[in-house]
Amino acid sequence: MKNIICCRWLSLPIGSLVLLCICVGCSKEKLDELASNVKKKSAELASSTEAIAEKAKAASQSAVQTVKENLPSSGSMALQITPPLETSSAEIEIISVDDGRLNVVQILSYNPQNSPSYPRVLLHGTTTELSADTLVGKSLSMDLFIQTTASGPMIASTLEAPVVIQFSRFNTDKNTLEGTLNNATLVQPDNQPVSLSGGTITALVTKGKN
């Protein structure tokens, strides 16, 4: 798109030069000379355009890189089931009702307020901790639910064996909590087992608004 715009701008002075020559009534030699000049000029301009485009591309890549580095992480999950499941988003929230009951730990790969997109993963458990960073070094039993598609069979942990997640690191810069999932046997609606051979989670720590 950028190249097309550049070429249009360049065609304007060349066109004007040819038009001027026609109007003032030049000789054939003169015209040949002019044509040669025009070709030369065109080549120079084309070369200059490529340089500009290269520079623009480099500048653009640099800008994207800068923006990317400044954007907060949206988190991710990678669950080792068959086929492996990855999500490009993961958020963890510790929800306190503040009435003396345990707090909820909720890790979501999706925003419940948005229109559904798949896959959707939910990890849900309880804790006495009040903030995500204090979960580092701790392991938590959580219920796991996976919806790979809107109407396909779900996968869930069993009552007997919720999945265990070990929280390993809190990244202060990115405000993310990292953790790994232990191996577990999950189940489909038809009671067929699904093996979970571990998994990793990098979850952006959020605080919902009451």
Partner: protein, 600 residues
Amino acid sequence: MKCSATSLCKPIAVITFVLLTLLPLILTIQLANANPSAKEPMAPLAAHGTIPEAKQMVSSLYSKMPAWDKLTDQLIQLANSGKMERFPAREMAAAAEQLFIARRDILHLQLMGEPAAVDLMRRLDYSRGHVIHYGRQYGQTQLGNAFKQKYIKQFQKDAPRWAKQQQQVVSLIEAGNFEQANSLAEKMGTERVMIEAFGSLQERDTYWDRSFDIPTMALSDSRLTPFRSKKYREMAQQRVTEQLATIDAFEEATSQLANNLKTAGSTSLSEGQSGGPVEAFKFVGDQWSKTHAALIRAFAISNTFRLRDQNVAEHSQRLHAAAKSVLLGIIDAAADSTTEDSAMQVYAQLLAEIATLDRRCKGSDLATSCRPSLDRYLTRHSTLADKVKAYERGTSEVLRMRREFTQQRAKYLLQSFPTVTSLVDSKTDSTPPMIIAPKELGLTAAKTVLSTSEQILNRTVSCSPVLRITPASPVGIGPFRDHCYVNTTPVAAAKERESLQKSLVVSADHPALTLEAADAMTSAESLEYLNVGGSLANVHLEAYQTRFVSLPDVASVICPLGTLPVLSDRAGSEQTICWRFDLTPQWFQHKYFIVNVNAQ
């Protein structure tokens, strides 16, 4: 002194223990009247007793049937072995007399609106038909003719007396004494009914039809039947009026509750009892259920006695609107009168009451109606509102995921458990095809129940939903739909409930704070499920009209609040069947988990 006190206490303790032990059984019996079943096919059809003497009549008639069945079998056996001369003539004559009176009683029961009359008449006609058939053949034998001629001679002798009696019957009818006229006519009939059994067609025409049945009995009936019909319809109308009046009683008992709560924070409920908004809500729910049962009875009585223009459906809508209005008023009053200290406790208890009552309504009607009032409650209690919002954020997604996973599991299970209603009116693969569980009684009740149970016992079926009659009763009911309802025994699911409690961060001190969570917890605790799958252990044949005319208050759960047991394809008649299918459960579907019964 101490000793005597102890000796007094012991029997009381024993009696209390026995009563508590028997309570579930008593409650079960209340819903399950004696009716023919796969296990007891010859059991009588229950009477509803709108006309009080009907119950005794039905019971008495059924008790006589076995003796007539036995005599019939004996006659068939003797006839088949060519020993007609050995027919027990005196027993046959006595039976003819009893069958004549019994038939008169059954006709009477029909006017009393008792569906049992249909079954009784079928059973009686079977015996009566055989007695008359073999009696007529016997009367043509030498022995039988001699037996019959003695009676004919007596008839001829009695002719002047009978003529006088016939005049008396006419006079009584003219004076409007229809019952007395009938009594006399029936007495006359018993004296000569043996000719109906043993006489040739000619003799029967002379001594029965032309000299008695047409001029006396039929004449009496032509006046007696409309007289009785009118009388019983008036009695039925009175019963309907009484049932419909319970709405007025409901409105009177509940109209001031919300105002009292708003001004004083508490209100008097029933005699000697008072309470706050939670108790008031529960009280209204109980009264609503009782009044709902009364309206079901009113609907069924109107149907049974063909009483027109009762507008029971309109009354039902009126009750529904009134009850909801009172309940919303109670929540609104609670919003204003509850202190900040108890705001959460009252809110959570109200949620539990709403959820429990909502499961008895059709399509979450009550819960939807209550939401604006609950929102208003939270507006009044902003600290609680923040907690509820946090609670909702922490529990709504896990509930959604649990629900959808459970729905998928149930869908898989249901593949091998067709719905119980699919059995009704379905046909066998045999040639010619037979109806498996008919909607109407075409044979005797015993034959119908045997034929049906032969087809369906031990089949696996499902039913939705399962609700408890009372927390004390072990019975779970699959509400009435398409000519049937289900009886089952819900099982507790400790492990699943514990898991749900954990997901919902609920404990004794920390209740559920959303309607969805309250519904999840109360249904898990009271063993109320969305679906049950299991095998059919027993089949009971009940008359549709009797089931609902005699519905006890406690069993109102058989029809969702605000609805009536309307049949989708026809108006109920005395022949309409209401099947009760007893299900031995294999699994239950709670909204948020599946219970495998064998694993419990």
